[in-house]
């Protein structure tokens, strides 16, 4: 009897802690939509609901802070981001389920291209994540925002015959980006982290009547936080 009460208490505690982390997101009301032939989509999942179907980690319902490095072969950059969980769902046929997570993302990025410019970007977007085996995942991210370049060498202009130096010279651009990559969750001292690497394109518009596109690679470390 004592054992039974202890299990119940632990279950309740676990339940409440899970609900606390999930309460700010979609309220977990399950809706199952079937199409004839067995394809289905289950939305509004929380830990309890999904536990029967697949391993469902609590951190999918948590926000995270991230830091990363990025670069284009030899031109380095940095990235900070904040990610807010949006929704998760299972999609597919029985035995071939895909567990998917959607998040809102907020990025601050910077890179330095020697003798070209410094570039600071502020963007927001969405990430599409799919759970793979052994805590691995595939991630695809798209975001839009603004960027401001700063020429990294002295810049001059001819103002009606009088040459003058321009300070903090550079340009504003509309910035739209896409990237995809693979990563893994890991745990350290009861905290959850994840690491993922990616490949993508940074795009700036308008750039000399067209747009400027930059291929980049990066590595991100994220720490999950409770709200």
């Amino acid at each position: 009897m004592k054992k039974f009460i202890t299990i119940l208490t632990l279950g309740a505690l676990l339940n409440s802690s899970l609900n606390v982390s999930a309460q700010d997101f979609d309220k977990p009301t399950i809706s199952v939509s079937h199409t004839k032939g067995a394809k289905y989509r289950i939305e509004g999942l929380n830990t309890q609901d999904s536990s029967k179907r697949t391993t469902f980690q609590t951190y999918y319902w948590q926000n995270y802070l991230g830091i990363g490095v990025l670069g284009s072969i030899k031109y380095p950059g940095l990235e900070l981001n904040y990610s807010k969980a949006h929704k998760s769902f299972i999609q597919g046929k029985k035995g071939k389920e895909k567990f998917k997570i959607r998040r809102w993302e907020f990025f601050t990025r910077y890179y330095y291209h020697r003798n070209f410019h410094h570039n600071i970007m502020l963007t927001a977007g969405k990430s599409w994540q799919r759970k793979l085996k052994k805590e691995r995942f595939f991630i695809s991210q798209a975001d839009i925002g603004l960027s401001r370049t700063f020429y990294d060498r002295p810049t001059f202009r001819n103002n009606n015959g009088r040459v003058e130096r321009m300070w903090l010279a550079g340009d504003f651009y509309f910035n739209f980006n896409y990237r995809f990559g693979f990563g893994k969750h890991f745990h350290h001292k009861q905290k959850t982290y994840r690491l993922y690497s990616y490949f993508g394109l940074l795009n700036f518009f308008p750039y000399n009547n067209l747009y400027y596109s930059r291929v980049y690679l990066g590595l991100n470390l994220n720490k999950f936080i409770h709200k």
């Binding site: 072969i73 070209f116 810049t155 001059f156 202009r157 001819n158 308008p206 750039y207 000399n208 009547n209």
Partner: protein, 347 residues
Amino acid sequence: MKRIIYLIFIVLFFSCEKEPIPLSAHTDDIFFVKSGVNTLPIRVKGNSGSKVFVIYIHGGPGDPGIWEHNTTQSKRYIQPHYAAVYFDQPYAGFAQGNNIAQATVETFTDAVNNVVQTIKYRYGDDISIFILGHSWGGFVSSAYLSSNDFQQDVKGWINISGAHNYMLGDSLVGDKIKEVGQRQIDLDLNKSDWQAMIEWINTNPPDGTSKRSNNINSCGFDGMTLMSDSVNEGFKMNVGKIIMGQYEPWALTAFITNLITTNTLNLNQLALDNEMSSQLPKIKTPVLNIYGKYDFIVPVGLGEDVMKHIGSSWKKLVIMNKSDHNPQLSEAEITHDEIQTFIETFK
């Protein structure tokens, strides 16, 4: 607090002051010049202590002039004696800028003027400036020198394979293909190739469109490669260096964007619509014309046209007997001897 205010004041005062750039035998100075909606990268390399600055006006249009002209030959023959100034024209190479705009002849003449004024501002009013235009750069140079009073800032114009009149150039290419081609056919050299080219030229005369002009240009390239007694020396691009970013500055995707923009802006049409032969009499600056005998892209006839129309009292045409479009690379020593003599005379 007072101290901090004084410190801020001193910093602001000195930051507004004109920066003195030390003149030296080994200058390597990279900076930007804002010209209209474009920001152009400039690189000054070599002996600025000579107080002679040779500004390269690159070809293309759309070439990355800032590294393209920083050749082994330029390093060997120009930089030890003078300061070479390499830059990218608007919408070319690594020029940057947030804009959607049209390009006019003034876009390019103003750009050259802004570069000239900035070089004078940075290195002193007592320096001597020479303009070295190559290919499309010949069009830009002639437009620049014949506009406003810009030529007053320049001691001399070195016109290497300059294309100041695209329409004339296209008909000269046709004439050259036909004339040389017939001789080659008579000598039984690459007979079928020459016959095909002559046939194409006969049925596709210049019509003032950039499409036809580009095709005639391609035909000229084909003819040039068939001439075994010319030295085909082009600008070298090292893929490894590009990937590792060893060209300074280098932004590969910006270069690709600018190449596409050059085509969409149809800058060749701009040159076709604005011949500079009629403007040449305005130019009084001494001019040294250097053309390659085997140049089928910008034939020697264009150099003769400069000689005929230019208003300069000192003018010279040198024909390089083993060169095609790039005599400064293929017959570097003789070409640079001519350039050096010219600069020493007029600096």
